[in-house]
């Protein structure tokens, strides 16, 4: 029983990371109908930036905030410089460009910071204020930070005019323009936010998996799985899906498949959900236009 609880809790901690990435993926998907295959590498690159800032002597939370700002601006720049010109190009062009970005970020990180693994600090105290063997302080911290971030994003989209405008621009761009919303700006904002959310995920997971250019590939796969499970049209669903994937991963890893087939597990989940319940748990069925 203890093991079960322990696995579930640590699954929730990883799940928080997957939830963040799933949210980032869904935000981009809703805005431009594409999967950002580079989301993981962007997060990894952001994390390296934070690492560099810390290595230069910045206090953790300063590095954290600066990294978020840089990621936000970087995300906006990617949208404006790279994706805006090919907005109407066929899907394959987009896939190719996402893959190109993956490659570029991966290689850039390798070039600047080398492919050796690096330790990334955890900002949380070494001990919890209460006695427990079930969960470690960093795991509690991950879940806490993620929940705070998700809450802020929820409030932003739900209750602010800009958040509302972003939703409108993503769902019906033409009507949005007719009420004076600049869809271009909203797209840029969306990319910036997604990049920042990804950066938080990267900084939270880096102390666990160590920092290196290839660290995010498998994690992104779980992020995708979370997004697909929750429903690609539902940001809230994606978050739930992410947490769910974290718990499933931990439990399946402990009781069913062992730790060595985790990626295969994600593959099976993705294919199965896409086949049998393409809208996910919380999404709407998307009618395919031909």
């Amino acid at each position: 029983m203890d093991q079960f609880l322990q696995q579930t809790l640590s699954g929730l901690a990883n799940g928080a990371i997957y939830a963040s990435l799933a949210l980032a993926v869904v935000m981009i998907y809703q805005a431009i109908d594409h999967f950002n295959f580079a989301q993981g590498e962007m997060a990894m690159f952001s994390t390296f930036i934070a690492w560099q800032l810390i290595a230069w002597g910045a206090p953790y939370w300063v590095a954290f905030v600066v990294c978020l700002a840089i990621s936000f601006i970087g995300g906006m720049a990617i949208e404006r410089i790279i994706f805006a010109p090919i907005h109407d190009a066929p899907a394959l062009s987009h896939v190719v460009v996402f893959i190109a970005l993956t490659l570029i970020f991966n290689a850039m990180a390798g070039f600047i910071w080398e492919f050796t693994i690096k330790e990334f600090p955890s900002p949380f105290p070494a001990e919890l204020p209460f006695e427990t063997k079930l969960i470690g302080p960093h795991e509690v911290g991950i879940v806490g930070i993620t929940l705070i971030m998700l809450g802020m994003i929820y409030v932003f989209f739900r209750f602010t005019p800009i958040g509302l405008a972003m939703r409108a621009a993503a769902a019906s761009p033409e009507s949005a323009r007719l009420v004076g919303i600049s869809v271009k700006k909203m797209l840029g904002l969306g990319w910036g936010l997604a990049a920042a959310v990804g950066a938080v995920a990267g900084m939270m997971i880096a102390p666990v998996v160590f920092l290196e250019p290839n660290m995010m590939l498998g994690i992104l796969l779980y992020g995708f799985a979370g997004a697909v499970v929750g429903g690609l049209t539902s940001p809230g669903g994606a978050v739930v899906g992410g947490f769910l994937m974290g718990v499933l991963e931990a439990l399946a890893g402990t009781y069913v498949i062992g730790s060595e087939l985790k990626l295969t597990f994600a593959l099976v989940v993705i294919v199965a959900v896409l086949l049998f319940r393409p809208a996910g748990l919380f999404g709407r069925v998307v009618v395919q236009r031909v």
């Binding site: 899907a91 062009s93 460009v97 190109a100 070039f111 492919f115 796969l221 990626l263 994600a266 993705i270």
Partner: protein, 351 residues
């Protein structure tokens, strides 16, 4: 699906300027290129040094894999980021047959292809319900999961786990050919057969059906084309090509291991396809050469600028990525499209 409208650049052959080769109608300039290409392919291994022969062989192997991917994406309009998995399946099939069951290498090539055909067909079946992006996502997952699966300890007796499997390239039965040269010709013959096969597949009724599905799935269905069958068979054929490439690649490298078949192998193949040109068979050769030589050349250049720093090699990835974006922006039909455009523009009689 062509990145942009391929039809607009395709040249309409002028009957006075066409020739027939293997039952295939070609414009004259194309015939010249083909003859020069074949001659060069036959002579090259005798004039260049051993290591270059080895590289050329590897480039041909990549070309075959790119061709397989191109059949799927360029001709049929389905995406795959998972072809590293089929390449790996082919490579492991060959290696396991050679090392565990002592089958002669030549007898492993076709089985590798067939297993990958089945694998592709089976993956293609569910993929039928996955349009475009979702297929890209599913195949992405496949590519990311593959190395871990190959490393899996319970398959270790088969796959050799993390260590992988060593194998030897086949000996040359002909006295005046070295091992490298012999393997080069083996790959060349396989490649030639596959090219002719692809050519025949993409002309004619089948080819028209495959491309109709790419251009307008709904219309294809109303025309009475069994789109599901064609799509999963195309996936199978694509797997077949890539699996054969994998088997040949295993012999060239004399080694298979999980880390040779990461997601990034899929990325290289995609790069080769996009740079070469979608929906073009000769483009696959360009793509294969590109995948092999551009990193080598860039590595040399980088070596000169940055010295022997191993992390500097990562810049090759940056260069590749930039190439890809560049291709999408200014060369949406790849080099092949560029050549077609160029020829159509400047070779019209009287100009």
């Amino acid at each position: 699906m062509a990145l942009s409208d391929a039809k607009s650049v395709a040249m309409r052959p002028n009957p006075a300027h066409t020739a027939v080769l293997f039952g295939i109608k070609l414009p004259m300039w194309n015939l010249y290129l083909t003859v020069i290409g074949i001659a060069a392919a036959l002579v090259l291994p005798f004039v260049v040094e051993g290591f270059t022969v080895f590289q050329l062989t590897q480039a041909l192997v990549y070309a075959i894999a790119v061709l397989g991917l191109n059949l799927l994406t360029g001709f049929n309009g389905q995406f795959s980021l998972g072809h590293s998995a089929f390449y790996a399946l082919g490579a492991y099939t060959a290696a396991i047959m050679v090392e565990r069951y002592e089958v002669a290498f030549y007898w492993t090539i076709l089985p590798a292809g067939i297993i990958c055909f089945i694998g592709g067909f089976l993956f293609g079946l569910p993929a039928l319900r996955l349009e475009g992006l979702f297929l890209a996502l599913a195949t992405f997952a496949l590519a990311v999961a593959t190395p871990q699966l190959l490393r899996y300890e319970h398959f270790e007796g088969f796959t050799g786990g993390v260590q992988g499997i060593d194998l030897f390239k086949p000996d040359s039965p002909i006295e005046f050919l070295g091992g490298d040269q012999w393997l080069y010709f083996v790959v060349l013959v396989c490649g030639a057969l596959l090219v002719v096969g692809a050519w025949n597949l993409t002309r004619g009724r089948t080819g028209r059906a495959i491309m109709a599905i790419r251009d307008n799935p709904l219309a294809a269905r109303t025309m009475g084309i069994n789109t599901s069958l064609y799509k999963s068979v195309t996936f199978g054929v694509s797997g077949f090509y890539t699996g054969i490439a994998g088997a040949l690649g295993a012999a060239v490298a004399e080694f298979v291991a999980p880390d040779s078949f990461t997601f990034f192998l899929s990325v290289w193949l995609l790069v080769g396809m996009v740079i070469g040109g979608l929906g073009s068979i000769p483009a696959a050769i360009v793509g294969g050469l590109f995948i092999l030589y551009v990193p080598n050349i860039s590595e040399a250049l980088i070596g000169q600028v940055f010295g022997d720093d191993p992390s500097a090699k990562a810049l090759i990835g940056v260069a590749f990525g930039c190439f890809l974006i560049f291709a999408v922006y200014v060369m949406p039909n790849g080099l092949a499209g560029f050549v077609r455009w160029f020829v159509a523009r400047y070779s019209r009689p009287g100009i």
